[in-house]
Amino acid sequence: MKHIKTLSKKTLKNTMAKGGCGECQTSCQSACKTSCTVGNQSCENNK
């Protein structure tokens, strides 16, 4: 495309099919303990 550079083609809708296994890290177990950040967690099934 000439005008648009897409950084992420993944759509969240596609994660509905296999998502929700619950094996990934609880957000507060990483480093924050005061905010809630899930966008930077990784999916256990993609490791």
């Binding site: 648009i4 950084l7 929700g20 619950g22 609880t26 957000s27 507060c28 924050c32």
Partner: protein, 454 residues
């Protein structure tokens, strides 16, 4: 829903409901928000005075192609899905063990009041700790990965119990088909070679508390006699982090910034200059009458700091001496599923905090507030009403989140902060939201900047 913003010379379009991210030219940056509610003809009419009609049509063709692919103007189709997800039987999979309600530092902003959590000084007994792990195993259903954070106060003040509990947990893994991931959060005062060696064998993650530059750290993190802690802990943390880097093990140097160091980007850079590779600095959360608390008027300065930090972050990455800042990490391709993104942090349901005497609270931030006492390791969850309240708490239950682009990244934010400022876990801590949104914008911009190199 579209979130369009400019940062560091990039025009960025986040298609909120699909999670797709696009970097676009000026014309496209104007077309995409317009085309959300207007027809092709109306968009051309609105822009033809300033842009060439052929160019506008070309952009519209590209935009329509992305719309077709589900990467622009995607609908929020997740409400019922998340409701079903949250409606599943509750399992507990993570615990924050308050190994010691005591501390050898007297940090001025401590939400735990120097480790005591509005209560008495106490150490968790081995018996209580074992009961907690038993409860976790019994109530974790078919989840394999179980997380246990040794927290405080300062957990190294009760280190023998930590070691025994790790061994106890390991001894149960095979029989119950579970895998424990242990985390240690420490201020470093009692850290020594034996502890580092044990942690490198058994702790999946360690969180090392340090506030950055010496003067900043020592002003907020003194010993009880007023002396600063920096000189004692930094050499140990540097060595510990280097070991874990070499072993490929996770760690975070983690600090808190306050109104007294709104130039906190310098503290993050200080971590990097000390040789740390993984770090986080969190805004202090305190009541408005505390002099160190962050106020609404501080927000513009904080936004500038995140921008400054993002630029330095990119610069160092490009120079091959990059570091990871927790809040700038974002995985646009392999990130969490939508269920994880929208269902909240899990406090009070799959995540519980356990006090030294075995009481359950929804998370470490609620410990000491009797209204949230849910049960204990001997009797299990007694207050299922509290559990149900947390279970229903997700982004769709939070009115402030419904129009916010950040909801897929913060999962509705911290319930404890919402409760602290508004008395309702379904509200949101507004200053925290402003900062969270900025961090997400910076994180995406960094991806755009680094993608240029590829």
């Amino acid at each position: 829903m579209i979130h369009a913003y400019k940062n560091n010379g990039y025009n960025i379009i986040l298609d909120v409901n699909s999670g797709s991210v696009h970097v676009v030219d000026e014309l496209t940056y104007e077309v995409i928000p317009l085309f959300e509610h207007k027809s092709r003809e109306e968009v051309i009419e609105a822009l033809k005075g300033r842009y060439d009609i052929a160019d506008i049509k070309e952009v519209l063709d590209e935009v329509e192609e992305l719309k077709e692919a589900g990467q622009l103007y995607a609908e929020d189709e997740y409400r019922q899905f998340v409701k079903n997800f949250k409606g599943r039987k509750t399992v507990v999979k993570a615990m924050c063990l308050h190994i010691a309600h005591d501390c050898n530092l007297a940090c001025k902003y401590c939400f735990a009041e120097e480790g005591e959590y509005h209560g008495r000084r106490a150490l968790m007994s081995l018996e209580v700790g074992k009961k907690a792990l038993d409860f976790l195993i019994e109530n974790s259903g078919n989840r394999v990965n179980l997380e246990v954070d040794f927290f405080g106060g300062e957990p190294l003040m009760n280190w023998d119990v930590v070691k025994e509990l790790v061994m106890y947990g390991r001894s149960k893994e095979r029989e119950y088909n579970k895998k424990f991931r242990f985390t240690l959060t420490t201020n470093g005062v009692l850290l020594n070679d034996d502890i580092m060696e044990f942690a490198n064998k058994e702790m999946a993650n360690v969180v090392l508390s340090l506030d950055g530059r010496k003067e900043v750290n020592d002003a907020m993190r003194p010993f009880r006699n007023g002396k600063g802690s920096y000189d004692l802990i930094v050499p140990k943390f540097v060595r510990f982090a280097k070991m874990r880097d070499e072993l490929g093990l996770s760690y975070y140097v983690r600090g808190t910034f306050t109104r007294d160091n709104l130039d906190f980007s310098k503290d993050v850079i200080h971590y990097a200059d000390l040789g740390f590779k993984h770090m986080s600095i969190e805004p202090v959360v305190g009541s408005e009458d505390e002099p160190y608390s962050i106020r609404q008027e501080d927000i513009p300065k904080i936004m500038e700091e995140y921008d400054a930090l993002a630029k330095e972050y990119i610069k160092r990455k490009k120079e091959g001496r990059g570091f990871n800042f927790f809040h700038f990490m974002i995985d646009l391709e392999q990130g969490p599923c939508v269920a994880k993104r929208l269902s909240g942090c899990g406090s009070g349901t799959e995540y519980l905090a356990v006090t030294p005497w075995g009481d359950f609270y929804p998370c470490h931030q609620f410990v000491g507030d009797e209204k949230f006492l849910m049960g204990n390791v001997y009797e299990g969850i007694k207050r299922t009403d509290i559990q149900d309240e947390f279970k229903l708490c997700n982004v769709y239950a939070k009115p402030k989140c419904s129009e916010c682009f950040a909801r897929y990244y913060c999962s509705g934010g911290c319930s404890a902060n919402a409760y602290k400022f508004h008395g309702d876990i379904k509200d949101a801590y507004d200053i925290g939201c402003d900062m969270q949104k900025k961090r997400i914008e910076c994180a995406i911009m960094i991806k755009a900047a680094l993608a240029e190199e590829e």
